[in-house]
Symmetry: C2
Subunit: 526 residues, 2 copies
Amino acid sequence: MQLTGEMLIGGAAVLGHDAEIQAINPATGETMQPAYPGGAGAEVERACALAWEAFDTYRALSLEERATFLETVAAEILELGDALVERACAESGLPRGRIEGERGRTVGQLRLFAQVVREGSWIGVRIDPALPDRKPMARVDLRQRQIPLGPVAVFGASNFPLAFSVAGGDTASALAAGCPVVVKAHSAHPGTSEMVGRAVQAAVRKCGLPEGVFSMLFGSGSKVGQALVADPRIKAVGFTGSRSGGTALMKTAAARPEPIPVYAEMSSINPVFLLPAALNKRAAEIGKSFVGSLTMGAGQFCTNPGLVLAVEGPDLDAFLASARTALEAAPASTMLTPGILKAYQEGVARLKGHADVEQVAEGQLCSGPTQGQAALFVTDAAKFMADVALEEEVFGAASLVIRCSDVATMKAVAEKLEGQLTATIQMEDGDVEHARALLPTLERRVGRILINGYPTGVEVSHAMVHGGPYPSTADGRSTSVGTLAIQRFLRPVCYQDFPEALLPEALRDSNPLGIWQRVEGELRRN
Amino acid sequence: MQLTGEMLIGGAAVLGHDAEIQAINPATGETMQPAYPGGAGAEVERACALAWEAFDTYRALSLEERATFLETVAAEILELGDALVERACAESGLPRGRIEGERGRTVGQLRLFAQVVREGSWIGVRIDPALPDRKPMARVDLRQRQIPLGPVAVFGASNFPLAFSVAGGDTASALAAGCPVVVKAHSAHPGTSEMVGRAVQAAVRKCGLPEGVFSMLFGSGSKVGQALVADPRIKAVGFTGSRSGGTALMKTAAARPEPIPVYAEMSSINPVFLLPAALNKRAAEIGKSFVGSLTMGAGQFCTNPGLVLAVEGPDLDAFLASARTALEAAPASTMLTPGILKAYQEGVARLKGHADVEQVAEGQLCSGPTQGQAALFVTDAAKFMADVALEEEVFGAASLVIRCSDVATMKAVAEKLEGQLTATIQMEDGDVEHARALLPTLERRVGRILINGYPTGVEVSHAMVHGGPYPSTADGRSTSVGTLAIQRFLRPVCYQDFPEALLPEALRDSNPLGIWQRVEGELRRN
């Protein structure tokens, strides 16, 4: 595919007129071609108008048609072949294996959502049949289903150029729900975005859908991003990025004449609790595997373990010694963008210069233009609790260990933490009571709790939660990974005393779709 | 029960120190005893501290214990006997039959939520078992459940002194979800609130629950209401009232260091579409039954039909003639409070004085101190669309008829309407294609669509939706009536690789609770 530097607005490809975006290959520092001139108000207007126009038609597709469309998007992405992998590697600095895996995940989640669409539980059918003879008053016939909210603005993330970008999780779940999508592509990987965007555009065309089902814009946060979120035809927002970026979108969305939901996945330091028996039995092993999780992908995961809590003493010292050894052997890794590297270096410098924080170890020195050096720090619970700045995420391979005087202090620190995507417990049988005591606090604070694992792997499945209380996300009632994500883009509508001719198929007594229906409060499928 | 004028904070009864609230019997104009001194910061602090303290214990109750508690609240309300009915009638001006019915609804919805709690689908169990042999990577064991958000602030509504007040729908659904509740009682019916509050307090005691599961405060919106919503231990808000009140709470909630969801049910004019064949066949009957819905309960329902759309011509004239006759015979009715009457009179005066609006009819003259006179107005589509003020809700028995040149114009007006709780279609077989064309617009605009009924009855059931896009509610993704309301107060948590000993019962393979579980994406219960 010849990249053109154009935005995709419905079925058209349009060159912008605003400031140009160009990708930088972070491994070489080279500027990549082509340039992507940004869009502005006119392009936002056109994309939103087309999305609105497409909405009623798109949401009225049969389950099979909608599922087939998602599968066609997946097939078109695979059709891009190795060129997509090469471009994504070059624009992100991520290794080929990672990008290939991410492509598999991207295609896999589109196919998984196709299954979810076909299965139909997301329609949330509820039927309370009329009771004409009820005393003292007859009951009317009431039937409920979930319908899509409307066009969704999706912001591509920097750290998953495929799986959380143009055709990533937010796009897949919004399209699955029946919502047209307008993507604001991330400026770090415009070429990858154009390729994937053209794949989605091709799928829209092949499936004969209204062109407005999908558009993709390039441009600045203020001219394109904020304008999208402010547009009255946009009814929800999906975002993965920084806290400042996410909260700015939340403000815009709340200030609209009609406020809309923002699903922003923002920041998390993902505390890891090393309980005493585990630390006693496996300090060296945990130190090593923890560093593996910390440095994976240059630490550029939302679920990177940025905080470790343990009781001070020889076992913790053994953990630190093992982590130090592993970290000192960890090669510097290319980070996604010069901007991300700079923010990482500033975060590390802040910790290095902090009077109450001690450096445990550093990774190997950098040898390329955009490389980040891993770092591990230590402080104690009282000092940590005395400075809220120590709780700020340092996006990259840096982590802070908190020495606690006892397990109760670990729990007390947990109780003061902000909302997080994940919390991890390393434990042995002897730690069960400690873990039990800690769990209610963690449930209130995080979206996913792991035992004896590391948070950096996020499975795309039915039970996954990639979400959590604010500020890990804007809205802790949801997840951005896994099939539950479809529910973010739905709302219930009740149909009272509808004649059969006007009743949506999903709500008919004969159940022609063969989906689960809750009848008088009882689930059934027949 | 001897009323004391006290607030209920956990197990205690506490007299406030702020400005006094006293109910006024709207039928007589008399001030009622006792006085209720308002609370302020200290009482909000104490109630929230107790609620937070109670949260982990309350949410850990078994399903049976939680359900029994809800049923005990219902029983304690019935125990109040006729004294409750008398006080509620006196404080609200509502007739005995209505208050008795409302008590039945209040008790009924507590019992219905008890059933919902026992049935357990609200826990939303999802299980993706470990796949240790999966290639290229093993899959971890992932299990998801919904947990309650935390303490909820509930604002009593004026127009349902039982069913949407201290132990009304918001309280019942929050308690069912596992959330402690702090109620801000409505100032219009403090005696009714004290009685019901003491019934809930007694149920908490009888069931041996932590006292903080329920508190109830009196006081001003600024000193108690806003302080409650701003308290960091409050995690969600339930409100039914005015748009100005609801949007003020939304602002406070969004400005918190941790923003929280606000479920505010605010305003709606509930358009009624009279399609041509129906109007041709039943103009006189529709005119009469429409006025019955309009004047019911002095028009003080969120779902009151405040807007009628029809094609101009002799059939619409016949409808207007019939409605005029019915309305002119409609007696004036006592409204809830002098303040509500004043706002109603101002709204009616605004329509009377509007150059583009014509009065069709007035109800009978008022004979009591707080009575409202019903009123019906007419304008045309172009004039209606030219002045957004004509779309403002006039809370009470007033409605505006829009003459449209054709059905397409009816649809065009619908497309411009703000979000609504309901829309109603009056139709005959000959109107099916018109109705079909109108439905996509209505689905996007409202929470409940009725055919050949009137919106003023709201059944409490599984399929009901009493919600809708902004500004009918703050959050169109939910309902405040019916069993789906429990989902407003829940969020998902994922448990990864948990040992059996630490796994919540709901998530175990053996399914000891016997509830529905979604295993690998498939629902099952065994």
